[in-house]
Symmetry: C2
Subunit: 233 residues, 2 copies
DNA sequence: CTCTCAATAATGTATAGACATTATCGTGAG
DNA sequence: CTCACGATAATGTCTATACATTATTGAGAG
């Protein structure tokens, strides 16, 4: 086999032409038959190369019409939202979890909205993630006990709710909301930052087949934390 | 042809088994030959189905060993960072661009760091994006005139730097950094928010083949703006 | 018991051909 | 001139086969 796959080479070359601006948005690329002749390979191979670019959102295909360079790219980035513990570990610091409160209750108004459920028991947790002893992030977590009854018996003093859920509960969809908030008095106290200081809030809703499993809100001191996202390959 | 592609059906079914937890992380899936028999299709088709799951990060393949359900990934989400103008338009508001300052200068220390260049001329812009007349976001923009000489002649009073660059300059890579900051006096004045109030800062570095083209920092009032990311298909 | 190395089982890539699907284009009827 | 519709050119999918690549496994040598 050749050192580098033919479809990879074709993909790369087309990608380059797009990225370099030689082929602008809307440009129609040669039909697969032409590329097939140009590269001296089979149509399947050309097709696979273009498949890759379609997946990456660089090309759109229309039957009979041809394949076209996709419209002006919006900045789309892959945001990795790691488990807090691994995040702390990645910084070479010692992670410690502190469970502030754990309440099992019948879903109140706010719970019902956040979990999009009609009712039923929920588990409400508050914890403080520490790095080298210092407050790192605050987490508020709601778990629908209807969807995840096993959470009732989990020991969240040992394993963070996020880690436990990741390991025990498969999910199919998640949505995140990132915003900047001012530290309320409670947040300020727990994170040991001045009241009103800017904090990064990352909220996450997690679904499993249309049923919401859990809601989480993590709050980081604004001056000590940032989310990084890279271009989506 | 069948209504739904065979490879799509296979992909879907495997996906379901993973998502439902039936196949946990590390589970080895049947060899392609087996699936080929199970679905009564050719190996290429099975392979293509799995290809899709590999792209989505759900499966890892190892030659000779087999294909395995990938370890529970951290939450990876697709973050779409739209052009400010379209963002405002999407909210049904009237967008207006205000150019605060436009300075062409020899790169100073900070410019050099942000653009990762040794020197040369840069264009520094400050603008205020407005929605229905009210301040919406503040933008600081640095453009390397070495990389993008055409920017010298662009009319940034008409078209926002982001939109102009998107349309005129192809880029190959971008990195984002999202954090929460406190409004400095200047920011507070321009955004018409109290000094010290939390703001969402989105910084973006854009590359074109290893050369940095531009740096941008957009600052949004924290209470009026959030970034939303969905699970990465 | 351990190491080496060849057989093997899995994925990785590619081909050539077939038929399906669909939007476009041109032509002919009105 | 307009419209309908069939021919056509493109992509979409699939098959059967072939050979490449690679890590594991197991057998044999030491």
């Amino acid at each position: 086999m050749t050192r580098v796959a033919i479809h990879d080479r074709i993909r790369r070359e087309i990608e380059d032409r797009i990225m370099s601006g030689a082929w602008e948005a809307g440009h129609r690329l040669p039909p697969e038959h032409a590329l097939m002749a140009e590269y001296g390979c089979s149509r399947m191979t050309v097709h696979k190369a273009i498949d890759g670019l379609v997946d990456r959102g660089l090309i759109e295909r229309r039957k009979r019409a041809g394949s076209f360079v996709a419209a002006p790219k919006v900045h789309r980035a892959a945001l990795e939202i790691p488990d807090v513990a691994s995040e702390v570990a990645a910084q070479g610091k010692e992670y410690r979890l502190g469970l502030i409160s754990r309440i099992e209750r019948e879903a109140d108004q706010r719970d019902r909205e956040l979990l999009e459920i009609a009712g039923g028991p929920v588990l409400a947790l508050h914890c403080l993630h520490r790095a080298d002893g210092k407050p790192f992030a605050l987490e508020e977590r709601l778990i629908s006990l209807v969807a995840v009854p096993a959470a009732r018996d989990a020991d969240f003093a040992q394993q963070s709710p996020g880690a436990w859920l990741l390991a025990h509960v498969p999910w199919t969809d998640a949505r995140h909301r990132i915003s900047a908030i001012a530290a309320t008095r409670t947040i300020a106290d727990r994170l040991a930052v001045p009241q009103g200081s800017p904090c990064l809030s990352v909220e996450r809703w997690t679904w499993r087949n249309d049923a919401r499993i859990t809601y989480a809100r993590q709050v980081y001191p604004g001056d000590r934390h940032a989310l990084v996202a890279s271009f989506l390959a």
